[in-house]
Every structure is written in C-alpha cells, then in structure tokens.
C-alpha cells in the first residue's frame, strides 16, 4: 500500500497516511501459496508410502530446479527475486507429483526448468502466464520422453489384478476395470501423488475449507464428468462409469490442485463453471475416444487457452442492471 508518514509541525505524533480502506483481511499471496504447499503434503506422503523413498528425490529435484530457474531468470532480468512467494515451490511440487514413480531425476529437472522458463517467466512471471506451468512442464516431458513418462512402477502393496498398468491404461488397452476401493486407497499404478484419492481429497478439502481454492471449479468438473461421462456410459458399453472417471487417474488431483490455479482459471463465478465443465467434456472425450488413456493434463491446458475469452464474456451484470 502506498503510504506516507508525516510528522506534525513540532510536537505531534508521527501519523501514517494512506487512502481507505484502512483494514485488510488476513490473506497475503505468500500465505495462500504456503497453504497450497501444505495441502500437497499428504500426496507427497502417499507417494513415498506406495512407491518408496526414492520419490522424495524426484520431488525435491523438481522443487529445487523450479525455484532455481525462477531465481536465475529474475536475476538475469534484474527483477526482484520473488521466490519467497512460494509459487515456484508449488509448480515444482505439482510437477514432481505428476510424473511416474522412479522417473529419472534428470528428466524431472528438465521438466521443472521448462515449466518455469517457458510456462511462466516468458509470459512475465507470476500472474501473467496463460497455461498452468506444471502442466506445461509435464506436456514437455510427454513429448520429449514418451516412453519413460508412461513406464509405471508397481506400487509396493499392489493387488495383482491391477498391477500391470495404470487403471486407465488397463481399461483402455486391456479392457480391465479396476474396482473403486484400490483407487480410493491408492495402491494402483499411476503418477506419484495422484493415485490415492484419500490423500488428494485431504489436501483438497483443506484448500476448499480455508477458502484458498474456489469451490466452483472442482464442483463444475465433478458435475461435468458425471453428466458427460454418464451420458457416454449410458450409450457406449465400452465407456467407464462416472465414478471410475472421478477416482481413476489424475481427475481429483487435476480438479483440486491444477484447475484451481488462480492465474490460469477464470475470475468470474460463471466463468469458473464454464471452465470446469469444459475441462470435463474434453477429458471424457480424450479418455473414451482418444489415443491416450489419460486426458486431465491436455483438457486443462486446452481450457487454459480459453480463460481470457471466458473472462471477457462472463463479466457479471452491473448491480441494478438485472440479474447477474
């Protein structure tokens, strides 16, 4: 806040001057970012529980390189070093949690550099990027290392029937449907942080209850996946049921941690609904008819591109000019 301190002519007190309002809510950018980091802790724990301690190396690498890249670029551009705001830590954490277990730390580092440099800093840094930086990094890894990024390690306590591949791949390529219970608990193949619905929900609910994440986006995605996924399930015997859509793959992780990213999601309430429903539509289409088993990453990136447009066309109606 711009403010001035003036000293009374002679003996008076020093008084602070600034324009109203003179009160402020407890939220700061930093606090929000560190709340998100805290919310991701259960996912980090579940990755270690199911895939072993080596996953910590991968996650730490991603965080380190994300933060390092941001600091280096800010230094290079002679901008203030803003890594303390925690946003680069989040990007690193998110990227680390969406690569396969035992993924190469070298590749992870490359992905983290790409996330921050291309996904965020070229747009002007925090607040200006169009696409979710962690997903940009993940998309880069998918293109650069297609084999490594789809090589899934079996979780330590896996049930035989589901240990061959991720549940989505099992369904797509082998027509094997994974039951819900292992999906909820998380002892299935998949990316580090996304396999356990319990861990994801724990962090996600924390974000929703504290008001850090806006509830509308995850709500819209859930409604969307039930409506669109349900419609396909009714008419296409090969399509999975909506519950499977919700608990398999990265749906929950994407809905609670990726799609809720402020910068790359709409600012208006109606916009959030359109955005969330759009993600689910694209997601269901990719999962059921696309060549890839999973589609959360591409569906979010796809809808990220429309956010400026959505913002523009969902401006609320002015008070007094009819219902918003």
């Amino acid at each position: 806040m711009s403010s001035v301190t003036v000293t009374e002519a002679t003996t008076g007190p020093e008084l602070l001057l600034s324009t109203s309002p003179h009160l402020h809510s407890r939220w700061t950018t930093k606090q929000i970012m560190w709340f998100v980091v805290l919310a991701l802790v259960p996912c980090v724990i579940s990755s270690v529980v199911y895939f072993g301690p080596f996953q910590l190396v991968i996650i730490a690498t991603a965080v380190l390189f994300a933060v390092g890249t941001e600091a280096a670029i800010q230094r290079l551009l002679r901008k203030p070093i803003a890594i303390a705001d925690g946003s680069a830590v989040i990007t690193g954490l998110l990227l680390g949690l969406i690569v396969p277990p035992n993924f190469s730390p070298v590749f992870t580092a490359l992905g983290a550099v790409f996330s921050i440099a291309i996904g965020k800093m070229v747009f002007g840094g925090l607040g200006y990027n169009i696409f979710n930086p962690a997903l940009v990094g993940r998309a880069f890894l998918q293109a650069a290392f297609p084999v490594a990024i789809t090589t899934w390690t079996i979780p330590q306590y896996a049930i035989d029937a589901v240990s061959k591949a991720t549940p989505l791949a099992a369904l797509k390529f082998d027509h094997v449907v994974t039951p819900i219970t292992p999906l909820v608990v998380g002892n299935v193949g998949g990316s580090l942080g996304e396999t356990s619905a319990i861990a994801v929900l724990l962090g996600g609910i924390f974000l929703l209850v504290t008001g850090v994440a806006n509830w509308r986006v995850p709500a819209a995605m859930t409604v969307g996946v039930i409506v669109f996924g349900g419609a396909l399930w009714l008419f296409d015997p090969n399509a999975p049921d909506p519950l499977f859509h919700i608990f398999a793959g990265s749906f929950l992780f994407g809905a609670l941690f990726m799609a809720t990213d402020y910068v790359t999601s709409p600012m208006t309430g109606r916009g959030m609904w359109i955005y969330g429903l759009g993600i689910s539509l694209v997601l269901v289409l990719i999962r059921v008819y696309g060549g890839l088993p999973e589609g959360v990453m591409y569906s979010i990136l796809f809808m990220n591109a429309f956010v400026p447009l959505i913002n523009r066309y969902t401006q609320p109606k002015l008070f007094g000019e009819g219902k918003a």
Binding site: M1, S2, S3, V6, E8, G12, P13, E14, L15, L16, L17, S18, T19, S20, P21, H22, L23, H24, S25, W27, T28, T29, K30, Q31, I32, A82, D85, G125, L126, G127, Y128, N214, Y262, V263, S265, P266, M267, T268, G269, M272, Q315, P316, K317, L318, F319, G320, E321, A324
Partner: protein
Amino acid sequence: MKFRTFPGGVHPAEEKELSEHCAFEIMPAPSMVVLPLSQHLGKQARPTVEKRAFVARGQVVAEADGFISSPVHAPIAGMVKSIGRESHSSGYAKEALVIVPAELKEGESLPEPQRMAAINPETASVEQIRTRVRDAGIVGQGGAAFPTYVKLTPPEGKRIDTVILNGCECEPYLTRDDRFMLERPDAIVSGLRLIMRALDVATGVIGIENNKPQAIAAMEKAVAGKPGVSVCPLKTKYPQGAEKMLIKAVRGREVPPGKLPLDVGVVIQNIGTAVAIHDAIASGEPSITAALTVTGRGIRTPKNLLVPVGTPLSDVIAFCGGLTEDAAKVIVGGPMMGVAQHNLQAPVMKATSGIVVLTRDEVAAHEETACLRCGRCVDVCPLHLNPSRLARLAQRGMIEEAEQLNITVCMECGSCAFTCPAHIPLVQWLRLGKQRVIHLQRNRK
C-alpha cells in the same frame, strides 16, 4: 433465522466491543471552534457575520447559498476571530470561520443565546418540517453529508413509498448509531415519522445489522403500536449500510447505475439524522452538536461523545485520554471509508461519525505482489464490477476502456482492497481512474 442481505461484501473484524458499552458523554465546549463553510455536499455556505463580530450560541453565522447547501450555526458564544482557510478533515484546507471566547470591553455584551421555537412533532406540518430541517442546517449523518432538506423535497412526479432509516452501522469500530438506538429510540421513531410525513409516505423501516441485538430490541419496543413503522434486522456484512445494498436487502429493489434511491421509490436517512430532525422540531436545536465514536486501540479511553461542531480533533482526542504510544493512524470516519488525517487541528464537523485510531501493528503494510487473478475482488464487489481489471486499466491510462467497464459506478467501499491477497491498492487506482474518466467526460462537452 435467516437475515436479509445483499450478494457480495466482506466481513472485517467488527471491533465494536471497544466502545459499544460507553453511553454518550457530553464534551465541554472547547476554547476555539473552526467552522468550515463546507460541511455538506453542495455549495459552501455564505458567511453572514464579519470578522470580530460577537455571536451567540445557536446563531446563524453562514447561510445556505442555493438549494443544495446548508447554513452553519455558532456552537459556542464568542467572537469571530477570522474567516479564512483552515485545516479540514478531507485533507484540503477549506474556508472556515474561527470562533473564540469573546474578550468583552466595558459596555459590550454577548448577544442572547438563540433558539428556534419548539414545534410539537405530532402536529408539525409538511412545510414546518421542511423549513425547520433547512434552517437547522441538518445534513445526512451517514457520511456523505447531503443536505437533508433537499432529500425531504423530492422533485415533482417522483413517487416514494418507503423511508428506510439506516441503522446498519456497517463500518467496523463505530458505535454511535448503536448508542442512539439504545439511548434515544423514541426520538429516532419520532424523527422517522416526521420524515415520513414530510414525504407523504406510509411505510418506514429501520434496518439494523444483527450484531446489535440490544438496539434491535430497543427499536422494536419503540415502534410497537406506531402504524407503518417497523424494524428489519439484517445480516452483519460490510457494506450493508451502503444505500444500494440497504434497499436491496430491505425492499429487494436494485437502484440502477447512475440513479438515486428515490428513482426506486425509497428515501434513506441515517439514525443520527432522524435524531437531529426530532431535536430541531421538538426543541428548536440547530445542528451544532456532532455525535461521534472515538475509538481504536490507539486511543486511551474509547468513548461515544456529543461534541460541539468545530472542536479540533486534537481536543477530542485529548478528552479521551490522548493517543497511545503506538498510535499510528488517525482516521476520521470508519476504517473502511474514512480519511486518514495528517493534521489534528482539523475540526469535527456536523457529519463526523467517528475518530478511529489504529496502532502501528494494525497498520503494518504488506508487500504488494503481482495480481494472482484469484477473483476474490470480483466475488466481493457489491456492485458487480471487476476491480482488478479496472485498476489495471487505470494504472495503464486506458481511461476509455475503464469508462466502458463502468468505473464511475464504484462507490469506493473498499471491499476489493480489503480482500486482495496481493495487497494491490485497488481503491486508490479506482479513484484515480474515476477522476480521469470524469475529467475526460468534462472535456468531451
């Protein structure tokens, strides 16, 4: 029970407990009063006395200059020391009369105290009410200080069906209206009925936020058996007391952008204004006393006070034990929309509702970061603007775009800046943008 309200808004800490239990105290007359000629919206008053003239308590010292203007009365007897530019709580120096106690020489005497004739409130005619409200120099106590007489004289053809008394007191800290409702409920109802009679309206509603249960009870008791008047408890949420928000909550009507409450058939008056109207009619008292809350952790003894208009802020603060060691910001008005003061010689005015002193810890500045596009400001804006976008446009000088996105509708309630986690001074940018749009519109003509 579900309380009525409006969509949007914020919940700052209420902080009413600092002063809500303090009954009004009458502050003794100060040794000097500074009477700005502009204590109201509209044209400043024209002085009717010369420098060095002796004046009586209650005497008119400046008369209304035009329809939208208001006279000024002397709150103390004494001598006009000077007429010139003095400190003003808006931050700008403004024309004011300074009155000091008279030093009488042999043979000189002060004029007799002046008071207008009392009128029975039960039988006062429309003409008597309007004339008295004008002559008593009553202005709106809600903050904008609009001359009350003008509001009681609506243009021909406007149909008004409801008078709402604003007892929300949605600004944190302030407890003046709360105290009025506890201490003078009958005067409030009498004032409301006088307003209703002046406007030929059969329905009067007193809107009160539900964080004042005692005030709600007191007012409900006072309206019992009085036809047409009722109490409407409202949800506690800032800015519930903004005119548009209050009408939305009480009557469900939305005032269109650029329109006034009377365009949707409503006139709003503040609780304090109702008391002032009753006193002007029933005891002939002109507007020479300001009721205000002096509070905050930066003041030693928070109080609710009745203060002679024109008393310097520093005198009022001294009467409340002075500032604490860690006092850092003195605000005239509430902390959401009030004005930070740099000169405590500025006087209390007719519509001054409070002095709030915040401490160093409470005003600690937070670092401003880039906008996160979190949408919180859009969520809370009670007028459904997009503050972040408007601030950005104002910052970049894109004034015509800001105009198209209705920047001038903003009432500067501060909900957006209150809630912004990036600590962007949104209201500051919006104010700048509004001024530049108004400038642009003036040049177009």
